[in-house]
């Protein structure tokens, strides 16, 4: 069964076809990797999926329900969580408060003015932090975290509304290699445990090929290959795009979110 069915998704910036007629499905419970060189259109895809960017054409169905045209907050309420290529958190709050905010929002208590926000859903938030091994830093100001930790915090936040599908744009960017593997392993465990689906992008091919169930390759806005990791690894067109430019394992590149 598919959680997400995308058909003919397109976005043009002036003359640039950032995303051009893209079709794919995300199966329930799978980890689908979206790879491609810088500027391939991965983030643009993500931004359309969660409603942050209006698509120029196409359809996005979440469990058979059309979600194109919805605001990001509406898409989120339907069970789509997301992390950003350049992490976005509430920097004036502590780590645990960031997670609490997401839970408060999930329970639709954003407008309430009587309780203290700091004492609401503290246990639930703490559990989520434990899940991403951030419980030690629960009370640190979020603005003071190391970059890799912010990424893990984002994952905890994204899990706060019991999502059915997670969109993770370069979740491991800025992390050390062993941290990356750990984070993806963690994600894979969560996926298995909770039965959610994940669509993620990642520049480190080792991480991609060892964790993804399937891999989709985007180049200049078009899907050029979609299949099992072993198939993609052998695909000549993919190899020429990557090996030809030598850009494959470039970990330094953190593009626009």
């Amino acid at each position: 069964m598919s959680s997400l069915v995308v058909k003919g998704l397109s976005k043009y910036f002036g003359g640039v076809k950032a995303v051009n007629n893209v079709d794919f499905e995300v199966q329930k419970g799978e980890l689908l990797a979206l790879i491609g060189p810088n500027g391939a259109g991965k983030s643009t895809c993500f931004n359309m999926l969660n409603g942050q960017l209006a698509a120029d054409a196409g359809s996005i169905k979440l469990f058979d329900e059309e979600i194109i045209g919805l605001q990001p907050r509406q898409v989120w309420r339907k069970g789509v969580g997301r992390t950003f290529q350049i992490a976005a958190t509430f920097t004036s709050m502590s780590v645990i408060e960031n997670v609490q905010m997401a839970i408060i929002s999930y329970h639709k208590r954003l407008l309430s003015m009587l309780p203290f926000a700091g004492s609401l859903y503290k246990e639930e938030a703490y559990e989520l932090l434990e899940l991403v091994s951030m419980e030690d830093q629960a009370n640190r100001p979020c603005g003071m975290l190391a970059y890799g930790d912010v990424k893990r915090l984002e994952l905890a936040i994204a899990l706060a509304n019991d999502p059915k599908i997670l969109l993770m744009d370069e979740p491991a960017a800025g992390m050390a290699p062993n941290e990356r593997i750990a984070l993806m392993q963690l994600t894979a465990d969560i996926v298995k445990d909770k039965g959610i689906s994940v669509l993620f992008t990642e520049h480190d091919m080792d991480v991609v090929f060892s964790h993804a169930n399937r891999v989709m390759v985007l180049n200049r806005g078009e899907v050029i290959a979609l299949g099992l990791p072993s198939e993609i690894r052998e695909n000549e067109e993919v190899q020429s795009i990557y090996l030809g430019t030598g850009a494959v394992y470039d970990e330094e590149l953190v593009g626009n979110a």
């Binding site: 907050r73 004036s92 926000a117 100001p141 509304n161």
Partner: protein, 619 residues
């Protein structure tokens, strides 16, 4: 028909001066990203200096030479200010820059009075151009024709400067990408100085050419700066052609508006601005800012609940306020009530800008609406105090609901300008609608009920209401709603991604802040027994900003302490000197440059616990 054409020409000639001022403002903003509040003061200074020079020098050469020399002198003065002051604050948050330049405005206003006196001055007519020509049988002053030509001439000159000279091309490059220009090996500091000088020259020229038309007076600055802001916002910040278009629109609007709607002519331009902003949030020809900045900079220190030590301090302060009437006389109690009222005003502004990230340059609007709410209820319905205190804030709330709906759609300096515009709308309605509001004379005879009529009883009533309101504000800040509001300030992207409806939250926050401000205004009306248009004016809005910054934006207690210190100081200083504006202006400038973290921030940094400890204490 002929009459309409003359009116059209009148509009054109005002447009030129407006364009000179607005284009200068726009150019400065485009390159340095400073929103120069002092621009109106430079305009005024241009007019005064030109007055002196043209009185002293004879003939046509003397007249035009005087005007040019006046503009040049003021431009040099502007350059000096840029070098001494602005260079220190280019990296500061927008709000600080706005405030610092407002401080300069205050200083110049007072200096002008010291040098030229408080009387209006009538300038000399331009030699050879003091006649009139016949247009469709109507006499039209020749000088106005010169002014009409001046606008397009300056537009062409600016175009040539920016497109045909190396310096101009560099300035344009800097408008697009400041990093690139420094990469080209250009001395950025002097480029900024040059641009600022040019902008000030244009403003001063705009003021100088006015002298044969209008009297020179010491309130010209605020009048023109508000119009110039409106024009720049309509045209798009940093866009000279936009400023030209908008000057034309506003000048014609003023010219015909006064015929069609004499009572509300002043509001028209604000209505046009609000409409333009809703359709095109960056003005007619403006583009979205590439590097959107937060008006207050990033806040890293989380708000923490009170520590035990802090709680003791609060209790001690409360105790002092409680027993104050035992040993204080009526004057002190009166000042005490005023301090309490302004503490509420400052706290409500802090809720909006510190917590909500929406910097308001027009927070006095809600204060004034609350005060006038009382005055009208008393005047027309003879309503008793107990009822009026509850009902009058509704006027402020209504204002905040309407104004807030527009404001939350913008951010940063555009939002600040729009709040300023709405405050001016409210001010002009009150100022122009004499029959109901008493206009300039205000409304008198607003007395508290019998039981609260002595100073002591009124003080206690104020104390109870203000403490309750401050407690409510504090609770709101730490409630889920307050956190949500803060979240929208920290990261819109994240807020959106966890299901927060930003517009609704900020709108609601805006209205809450407005209603507390309105409550403060209500109390103030009863304290003073009268209301005046001052209660809604720009200076009062700025006082509020100064109180918040003085105390420190990063804590809940800061603004309250800031209000107390500010009011106490101003009461003392005003009674000892007539240079109040110079002192206040210098005070603001020093505050912004040297103590941007405010009193409470300063003490926390010095003696307080580090971030880590605060976090620990929260557990």
């Amino acid at each position: 028909m002929d009459f309409l054409f003359i009116q059209f020409l009148n509009g054109l000639s005002s447009a030129s001066s407006l364009f000179l001022v607005a284009s200068g403002l726009s150019i400065i903003f485009g390159v340095t990203h400073i929103t120069n509040f002092a621009h109106g003061a430079f305009y005024m200074l241009g007019a005064y200096v030109a007055y002196t020079l043209t009185e002293a020098w004879m003939g046509a050469i003397g007249f035009w030479g005087g005007i040019i020399v006046a503009a040049g002198t003021v431009a040099l003065f502007g350059a000096l200010i840029e070098i001494i002051l602005l260079r220190r604050i280019y990296r500061s948050p927008e709000l600080f820059q706005l405030l610092a330049t407002f401080g300069i405005t205050l200083i110049i206003e007072d200096l002008v009075i010291q040098v030229w006196g408080a009387e209006d001055l009538l300038g000399r007519r331009a030699p050879g151009l003091d006649g009139a020509i016949d247009i469709f049988g109507q006499a039209f002053p020749t000088y106005e024709l010169v002014l009409i030509a001046l606008g397009p001439i300056c537009l062409c000159a600016l175009w040539l400067l920016f497109n045909r000279t190396r310096w101009g091309v560099l300035v344009r490059a800097a408008t697009q990408d400041r990093m690139m220009v420094s990469a080209l090996g250009v001395n950025q500091a002097w480029l900024f100085t040059g641009v600022f000088t040019l902008g000030v020259f244009l403003a001063a020229l705009g003021g100088a050419v006015q002298i044969p038309r209008d009297a020179v007076h010491n309130a010209m600055d605020l009048q023109i700066i508000v119009e110039a802001f409106v024009i720049v916002v309509i045209g798009g910040f940093g866009n000279v052609l936009g400023a030209f278009l908008a000057s034309f629109i506003i000048a014609e609007l003023n010219s015909f508006g006064i015929l069609l709607f004499p009572k509300i002519s002043m509001i028209l331009m604000f209505i046009v601005m609000a409409l333009v902003l809703v359709v095109r949030p960056y003005g007619l020809l403006g583009k979205a800012e590439t590097h959107a900045r937060t008006a207050l900079g990033n806040v890293v220190r989380p708000l923490a609940p009170l520590t035990r030590k802090a709680k003791n301090w609060v209790l001690a302060a409360l105790l002092v306020f409680l027993i104050l009437p035992i040993f204080a006389d009526d004057f002190v109690l009166n000042v005490g009530s005023e301090i309490l009222i302004f503490a509420l005003f400052a706290a409500s502004l802090h809720l909006m800008m510190g917590v909500g990230g929406m910097v308001s340059f027009g927070h006095a609007a809600y204060f004034g609406l609350g005060a006038y709410g009382v005055a009208l209820l008393v005047k027309f319905l003879n309503m008793p105090m107990e009822a009026a205190i509850v009902i009058a804030p509704l006027l402020a709330i209504a204002g905040a609901i309407i104004f807030g709906w527009f404001c939350v759609r913008l951010s940063g300096v555009y939002l600040a300008m729009l709040t300023l515009a709405f405050a001016q709308i409210s001010w002009s309605i009150i100022f122009q609608w004499d029959d109901v509001t008493g206009g300039d004379n205000g409304l008198l005879g607003i007395w508290p009920s019998e039981w609260a009529s002595n100073q002591q009883a009124f003080y206690y009533m104020t104390l109870v209401i203000v403490i309750a309101a401050l407690y409510a504000i504090r609770r709101i800040i730490f409630s889920p709603f307050g956190y949500t509001l803060r979240g929208c300030r920290d990261s819109l992207l994240r807020a959106d991604a966890i299901g927060i409806d930003r517009l609704r939250i900020q709108w609601f926050g805006f209205v809450l802040a407005g209603s507390f401000s309105g409550l403060a205004g209500v109390l103030y009306a009863y304290l003073k027994g009268s209301v005046f248009p001052d209660y809604i004016s720009i200076p009062l809005s700025v006082d509020g900003l100064v109180m918040v910054l003085l105390g420190g934006i990063q804590t809940v207690a800061g603004p309250i302490i800031g209000a107390g210190v500010f009011k106490a100081l101003s009461t003392i200083i005003i009674s000892h000197t007539e240079f109040w504006k110079i002192i206040l202006g210098a005070f603001i400038v020093i505050l912004v440059v040297a103590f941007p973290q405010g009193i409470v921030g300063f003490f926390l940094e010095r003696f307080g616990s580090k971030e880590e400890d605060i976090a620990e204490e929260k557990q």
